[in-house]
Symmetry: C2
Subunit: 228 residues, 2 copies
């Protein structure tokens, strides 16, 4: 479903070059559950941005369902991002002026779903992450872990086939973290969604079928997880 | 050094009341290393804001070195926060338009420290969290865990006697997380700083001398840690 071929990302800061990804080769098959681990600064979020077509490589190619992403129009890409990909950002990226419910409803607006359906689905998603009693709170009126959970619900709002979760449990206690991991596992096993998760939690990573290790912008190892 | 007496924090949202803290009693002695744990939404950050004099209770009292904080002038409080308390925020709160170095130098500006000394100390603090080669990056040019480490360095910028760290390792891989925990432990054992840390990591919490468990806005248990 997604393939990265010799992907490089080099940030230029004046005369200095910062290589965030240095030749990443990665194939993510439809319906798989993949974990990406690695030290802080090793390139995981940059890699996720490539997979989610949110950024373009400096060198190398990204293929989405066999199509070269660099040859697609911005509107075609926007359609795909809106309908097929759900992204849980490491820093949440919630809209501060909207409530939790409105934040989760937002992606559905672009798919022309009627309001009463958007609201019903958003409520269900928030209840699934135990925020049924926080729907009217704005991000600033929520705890860090609650904001993270709203970000998770929002990513699932359009029922995407590909879920990209960048450290989805970093702000959660172990019990809630385990619930989120099982939730992602169920989306994969029962709903057939492709799930790619960046995590620092090696116990959480075990839920995956495959764990890739990133180091200094390169994949240095891949091992089979327990989530077969 | 810090005492919370029957502290309540009740947020009012229209006709709804959200009790974030419901009668918290807590004494933090000078030079101790305390961990606070609890489920997402249980009141940990709210509790830290009380300890750090960043917020006022709805009911109850906060004493800082024996003085009732509600009787202190805003300028006296600002002085204390600037000089005596270093706060690592759960969402970092870095200034997006300043570089990592400038962000770490900022708190020292208000203490009239000359520029060359501010810059030298800021560099040393960033090197301690392995960001010596990222000093010129703005927060948007840093990974999530790198932003978290800048926030840690900034909290230590004025060499405060009280360090409040709200989930300081949430975005860090286990190796860097262990380094930060040992760093906090050293600040306590070797420099005599009082450290209060919110963490979801029970292994990290063991570094503390005392672990308080928060649930639904109340302290429901306290146990001795291994950091004696
Ligand atoms: N401004 C606000 N208005 C209304 N409710 C609020 C506000 N700020 C926080 N809350 C609520 O107060 C409760 C405690 O929040 P707090 O941020 O202290 O939790 P926490 O223990 O730090 O959680 P986490 O581990 O997720 O960071 C939460 O249920 C939250 O929804
Ligand atoms: N806009 C940018 N300009 C310059 N350098 C950048 C930029 N964005 C990221 N970097 C650098 O690229 C490297 C990889 O960043 P990335 O966010 O992918 O790391 P990460 O593995 O997600 O780390 P973490 O676990 O801390 O979130 C980092 O060293 C970072 O400093
Ligand atoms: Mg990252
Ligand atoms: Mg918190």
């Amino acid at each position: 479903i997604i393939e990265l071929q010799d992907v490089w990302k080099i940030y230029k800061m004046g005369s200095v070059e910062v290589p965030a990804l240095r030749g990443v080769n990665l194939k993510i098959h439809k319906g798989s559950f993949v974990a990406v681990m690695g030290a802080s600064g090793s390139g995981k979020s940059t890699c996720m941005n490539m997979i989610g077509c949110l950024d373009v490589p400096t060198k190398g190619k990204v293929y989405l369902d066999g199509q070269d992403v660099s040859l697609m129009s911005e509107s075609a890409l926007a359609q795909i991002r809106g309908r097929k990909i759900g992204f849980v950002f490491q820093t949440f990226n919630l809209i501060p002026t909207l409530t939790a419910l409105e934040n989760v409803m937002l992606p559905m607006t672009f798919q022309n779903i009627p309001k009463h359906k958007r609201e019903k689905r958003a409520r269900e998603l928030l209840e699934m992450v135990e925020l049924g009693d926080r729907t009217g709170h704005k991000p600033g009126e929520l705890s860090g872990g609650q904001q993270q959970r709203v970000a998770i619900s929002r990513a699932l709002s359009n029922d995407p086939e590909l879920v990209l979760a960048d450290e989805p449990t970093g702000n959660l206690d172990s019990k809630m973290g385990v619930e989120v991991m099982s939730f992602l596992s169920r989306l994969n096993k029962e709903e057939g969604k492709t799930v790619v998760m960046v995590t620092h939690d090696s116990n959480g990573a075990k839920h995956a079928e495959m764990i890739h290790k990133l180091m200094d912008g390169r994949i240095v190892g891949s091992e089979v997880g327990e989530g077969q």
